[in-house]
């Protein structure tokens, strides 16, 4: 129920006093309200829940998990790439 999906803003416009965006999710494009992310602009990735953007994806934070894994490798490689297989 609390599902929110990341998508990229293709374009924005105003309607009924609200900012709306066309957002691409893989091959699908949907109309999304920017009421709660009024600063979001074209090219931004937003997390969308029931037709509303509820956050802008922080690219720096998103890269963090890769950094952690790279660090694990650097620290002596005690976790091999094929661990568990």
């Amino acid at each position: 129920m609390c599902l929110a999906v990341p998508g990229r803003i293709l374009a924005t416009d105003e309607r009924n006093g609200s900012r709306m965006a066309r957002v691409q999710f893989g091959g699908i494009v949907r109309e999304v309200s920017l009421d709660f992310e009024p600063e979001a602009r074209e090219g931004d990735y937003v997390l969308v829940h029931v037709g509303f953007a509820i956050s802008r994806v922080d690219a720096e934070e998103a890269a963090r998990i890769q950094q952690i894994l790279d660090e694990m490798d650097r620290l002596g490689g005690d976790v091999p790439d094929d661990a568990g297989r």
Binding site: M1, C2, L3, A4, V5, P6, G7, R8, N16, F25, G26, S33, D35, F36, E37, P38, Y45, L47, H49, V50, G51, F52, I54, S55, V57, D58, A59, E61, A62, R64, I65, Q66, I68, L69, M72, D78, V79, P80, D81, D82, A83, G84, R85
Partner: protein
């Protein structure tokens, strides 16, 4: 898709699981609150990647599951009225009330419409001024701002034929109840990332301090959940108890201010009954008096609904982490996704339905039909 695929990478998951294996020295019991996270865990078999000493129990974070029977009965009553167009998220359609469900009411001629956004409910009300359009406003804090926006907009536009049947619930009071329950086994929580995207995590900092329990705000993809579990176990093994944020690419400490503001403008905190957990004070949201004209509870006479949950259903124990879905004698026999006894078997995010779907071949008792 960007921000999804990299978090579903199998190699990444295995590397995280291997790291976890090295961290764990003792048994720990953790709970993921959110049904979306439960679904990810079962779908990707993450619980089977975990060290044997770690046990995940599945929390009450599925709004569909915890909607009480009498609320479903109210929805069914409204949906069957000839003057009403009843609008709902698809998740609610098969949830059994005392006697029926929305899908069956629709099949019998009720005007039931499924939407993915509350804004579509407004469009239906604009297009059909002759119909009484009732929107079933369910959900946690994640969904509340969007539903609030629909009600706010209806009032602003003077859409007098639009009302909402509100059944919103709040996560922190349920966690508090679990932590206070004397039988609780849970030693650490994965907090729901999208609820916290809206609300921030100050409330969870307070819970972590008050109960000296580690809480990690977690995302919804396999790598997110494994990382959140690593963060919890690191705390537990080191004897720490703090709030940490694994899902920082979406969650900020303050949450989403614009969303919270609109939510507070339209809703106020009220008491709610939870299916499987009972009455929890100040655990829900109701419409403020200014919006009474758009409140289906006022617009229609909905007093006098009451219902008992089926005694055989052990949802209550499952929701509190006291029993696994498969420990219920009805699981897979008298209770299946086709004929659910309780709501945990109905919603794809309910723990019972997730076990049935992803573990059916190993756990359905003899006589069941996976």
């Amino acid at each position: 898709m960007k921000y999804i695929d990299e978090y579903r990478d199998e190699k990444t998951a295995r590397r995280l699981a291997a790291k976890l294996e090295k961290l764990v020295t003792r048994p720990w019991v953790l709970m993921e609150i959110c049904g979306g996270q439960t679904h990810t865990i079962l779908r990707y078999g993450l619980d089977q990647l975990l060290p044997d000493q770690l046990r995940l129990v599945h929390g009450p974070g599925c709004p569909v599951c915890v909607t009480p029977l009498e609320m479903i009965d109210k929805a069914l009553y409204l949906a069957a009225r000839p003057d009403v167009t009843f609008v709902s998220y698809g998740d609610m359609l098969r949830v059994p009330g005392s006697k029926s469900d929305l899908l069956r009411v629709k099949a019998a001629g009720g005007d039931v419409r499924v939407v993915y956004s509350p804004l579509q409910a407004l469009e239906i009300a604009r297009a059909h001024p002759e119909r009484d359009v009732v929107f079933f406003a369910i959900g946690f804090e994640t969904t509340a701002p969007a539903n609030a926006k629909a009600v706010w907009q209806a009032r602003r536009e003077g859409l007098t034929n639009f009302s909402a049947l509100v059944s919103h619930v709040l996560v922190p009071p349920a966690i508090r109840l679990l932590l206070k329950s004397p039988g609780t086994l849970v030693q650490g929580f994965v907090a729901p990332g999208h609820v916290c995207t809206v609300m921030g995590y100050r409330e969870y900092e307070a819970l972590s301090r008050e109960f000296a329990v580690p809480i990690v705000v977690g995302g919804f993809e396999p790598a997110d959940l494994l990382e959140a579990v690593i963060m919890l176990v690191s705390q537990l093994e080191a004897g720490r108890a703090a709030l940490e944020n694994q899902y920082a690419r979406s969650v900020k400490r303050e949450g989403n201010r614009a969303a919270r503001q609109l939510m507070t403008k339209v809703f106020k905190v009220c008491d709610r009954k939870w299916r499987g957990m009972g009455f929890i004070p100040r655990s829900g949201l109701c419409l403020r008096e200014e919006y009474a004209r758009h409140d289906a509870e006022h617009r229609f006479d909905l007093s006098g609904f009451s219902a008992e949950e089926p005694a055989e259903c052990r949802s209550a124990d499952v929701l509190q982490g006291l029993a696994e879905p498969t420990e219920c004698p009805a699981f897979g026999k008298r209770c299946t996704p086709q004929h659910p006894l309780g709501a945990l078997m109905v919603s794809a995010e309910g723990a019972c339905a997730a076990y049935y779907r992803y573990r059916g071949w190993e756990v359905i008792p003899e006589g069941g039909s996976p």
